[in-house]
C-alpha cells in the first residue's frame, strides 16, 4: 500500500530527488511511530495561559491506532487548547496523503534537524500545513508547527527519553495563540474592585498559551479497551 502510494507520489513530484528524500524521511519516522499500536502513560500537565489559573495536574494519556486519543485528568477537568492536544505526533502524520517539502536545516535545543513542510493533499483536511523538525539520525520529531483551519497554529516541542525508541516523547510543550477572555462582572457576580486581579491578568497578558505535558510510566502495546476513549 505504502509502496504503491510512494511510487505514484514519486512520479508526480517535480522536485524529484529532494522530495523523495524528505518523503522517505517522514515515512521512516512514521514507520517508527507505527510500532506503537497503543500506549498509556502517566503525565503531569501544566497549563500556562494568561487567563487561566490552574495547578499542575496529574493526567493519564491513552492512545490507540489509528487516532484514538484520550487525556484524563485526575479530578476530571482539564483545560486544553481547542483541538490542540489531540493533535499528537501520531495523528499529525497518520494521514498518508501529503506532500513533503524540504525547507532547510535548523537546530532545536542544540540538536540539528531537517526542516520538512508537510502539505496535506486532501482539500478538506483540518490541517493546512505542518512543519516538522526532524532529528534525522534518531528519526525523532523534535518540533512540529501545525496550522489548522479552525483553531489557529500550534507549536509542539518534544523532548525524548527512555521511550525514544518508540518515538514517544518524555515532554511535550504545546504553544498556541490565545484570544482575550473577559466576562462581565454582572454574570460572575463580582462586586469587588478587581484592581489587583486586573494587574495580575495584565501581567500575564499578551503571552502565548502553553500546555506542558511530562510523560512517565509508558505502557506500550499492552492493549487498551475502546471504552477508555468514550467520553
Amino acid at each position: 500500500m505504502y509502496k504503491i502510494f510512494f511510487l505514484v507520489f514519486a512520479f508526480q513530484t517535480g522536485v524529484f530527488a529532494q522530495a523523495q528524500d524528505m518523503t522517505g524521511l517522514v515515512m521512516k519516522v512514521k514507520a517508527k511511530l507505527d510500532q506503537v499500536n497503543d500506549y498509556e502513560a502517566d503525565g503531569n500537565m501544566k497549563t500556562d495561559v494568561s487567563f487561566i489559573k490552574a495547578p499542575i495536574g496529574k493526567v493519564k494519556i491513552y492512545f490507540k491506532k489509528p487516532n484514538k486519543f484520550r487525556l484524563k485528568k485526575e479530578g476530571g477537568i482539564s483545560l486544553l487548547p481547542k483541538g490542540g492536544v489531540s493533535v499528537n505526533m501520531s495523528s499529525i502524520i497518520a494521514t498518508n496523503d501529503f506532500v513533503a517539502l524540504a525547507a532547510g536545516e535548523s537546530t532545536v535545543n542544540g540538536t540539528s534537524c531537517k526542516v520538512v513542510k508537510l502539505l496535506p493533499v486532501n482539500e478538506s483536511s483540518e490541517i493546512v500545513l505542518t512543519t516538522l523538525y526532524i532529528d534525522e539520525p534518531n528519526l525523532l520529531v523534535r518540533k512540529a508547527i501545525t496550522t489548522t483551519k479552525e483553531n489557529g497554529t500550534y507549536e509542539m516541542e518534544m523532548n525524548y527519553g527512555t521511550f525514544s525508541k518508540y518515538g514517544l516523547p518524555e515532554k511535550v510543550i504545546f504553544s498556541f495563540n490565545t484570544k482575550d477572555y473577559k466576562l462581565p462582572k454582572g454574570i460572575t457576580l463580582e462586586f469587588d474592585d478587581n484592581e489587583k486581579a486586573l494587574t495580575e491578568a495584565q501581567k500575564l497578558k499578551n503571552k502565548k498559551g502553553r500546555v506542558e505535558i511530562t510523560y512517565s510510566n509508558y505502557i506500550v502495546n499492552k492493549g487498551i479497551a475502546d471504552a477508555v476513549f468514550v467520553k
Binding site: 487567563f51 477537568i77 462582572k185 469587588d192
Partner: protein
C-alpha cells in the same frame, strides 16, 4: 446568662416562622439540584460558551463543588432576608407581642438580655448556614460527585484541584457565617427602635439592597466608598476560591490569591458586629419601655 440564652433559643425554635427560612433554603436548593441533575449538560454548555473560544474544557464541570459555589452565589444574596426575618424581630417582635415589658421586669440586666438575644440570633444564623452547607455542599457532593472545580471570574478562569477544594468551602462557610451574623447584628440593632417586626425587617433589607447596589455599581465616584460599605465585604468568601500563581503561571495548590482581603473583610465585619450590637446595648439601656 446561660438560662437566658437557652430561653431565647427555645423561643426562636418554637416559632413556626423560624422554619420558613430552613424550608425556603431547602426548597430552593433542591429545585436547583433537580434542574441541574436533569439538564446540567446544557447549563454547563451555557457556562462554558465564552471560554470555549480558544480553550476547550475536557471533563464534566458540573460536579458537587461547582454546584455549591453557584448556589452560594445565588443564595447568599437572599439569605440576609431570612436572617433579618428572625434577627430584626428579636426585640421589636417582643414589643409587638407585649412580652417585652414582662421580660424586662425580670431580674436580668438589659445588657445581659440583649447579649443573650444576639447570641441566640447568631446561633440561628449559624444553623441556617450549616443547613445551607449540608444541602448545598454535602447533598450536591453526594448527588453530583466531586472533582476539580472550574470557576469563571470576570477576567480569568480558575481551576482548583479536587483535593484542594473542601477546605476552601470550610473557610467560605465560616466567612459566610460571619457575614450573615453582621446582617443579624444590623437587624438586631434596628429591632430595638420599632414595636413591630415588619419595619426593622424591611429596613434591614433596604439597607443591604441599597449598599449592595452601591457596591455593585462600577462608577468611579462610588468606588471610593466601596471599601467602607460592609456589603462589599459580605461576599469576600469568594476570595477562598482564587489561587495564587507562581512566576511560571502555575496555580499554587493550597494558596489564596488575596488572603489579606479575607482578613480585612473579616475585621471590617467584626467591627460592624461590635458596632451594631454595642450601639444596640447602649441605646436600649436608655430606652423607656412603653410598649
Amino acid at each position: 446568662m446561660l438560662t437566658l440564652i437557652q430561653i431565647e433559643l427555645y423561643k426562636i425554635f418554637r416559632r413556626p416562622r423560624t422554619y420558613i427560612a430552613f424550608g425556603a433554603i431547602a426548597a430552593l436548593i433542591l429545585i436547583i439540584q433537580f434542574g441541574l441533575k436533569v439538564d446540567g449538560k446544557s447549563y454547563a454548555d451555557f457556562l462554558m460558551k465564552d471560554v470555549g473560544g480558544t480553550m476547550e474544557i475536557d471533563g464534566n464541570i458540573i460536579n458537587g463543588y461547582l454546584i455549591c459555589y453557584i448556589m452560594l452565589q445565588l443564595l447568599l444574596v437572599h439569605v440576609p432576608l431570612l436572617v433579618a426575618l428572625i434577627a430584626a424581630d428579636m426585640i421589636s417582635g417582643e414589643a409587638n407581642m407585649g412580652t417585652l415589658r414582662l421580660l424586662l421586669s425580670k431580674p436580668y440586666s438589659r445588657t445581659e438580655l440583649l447579649i443573650a438575644k444576639f447570641l441566640a440570633a447568631t446561633v440561628y444564623t449559624i444553623m441556617l448556614l450549616i443547613w445551607l452547607a449540608i444541602l448545598a455542599l454535602f447533598v450536591s457532593m453526594w448527588i453530583f460527585g466531586v472533582g476539580d472545580m472550574f470557576l469563571m471570574k470576570s477576567s480569568y478562569v480558575v481551576l482548583i484541584s479536587q483535593n484542594d477544594v473542601f477546605w476552601r468551602y470550610a473557610g467560605a462557610f465560616v466567612f459566610a457565617a460571619l457575614a450573615m451574623v453582621t446582617v443579624a447584628a444590623l437587624g438586631f440593632l434596628l429591632s430595638i427602635f420599632a414595636e413591630n417586626s415588619i419595619g426593622p425587617i424591611v429596613a434591614t433589607m433596604s439597607i443591604i439592597v441599597f449598599f449592595t447596589i452601591l457596591s455593585t455599581l462600577n462608577i468611579p465616584i462610588f468606588n471610593v466608598l466601596k471599601p467602607y460599605l460592609f456589603t462589599t465585604h459580605l461576599i469576600s468568601w469568594k476570595e477562598f476560591f482564587d489561587l495564587k500563581v507562581n512566576d511560571a503561571n502555575e496555580a499554587i495548590i493550597g494558596s489564596i490569591q488575596n488572603p489579606q482581603r479575607i482578613i480585612t473583610s473579616a475585621l471590617v465585619l467584626l467591627l460592624h458586629i461590635v458596632g451594631f450590637v454595642g450601639s444596640a446595648i447602649f441605646i436600649f439601656n436608655k430606652k423607656d419601655i412603653l410598649s
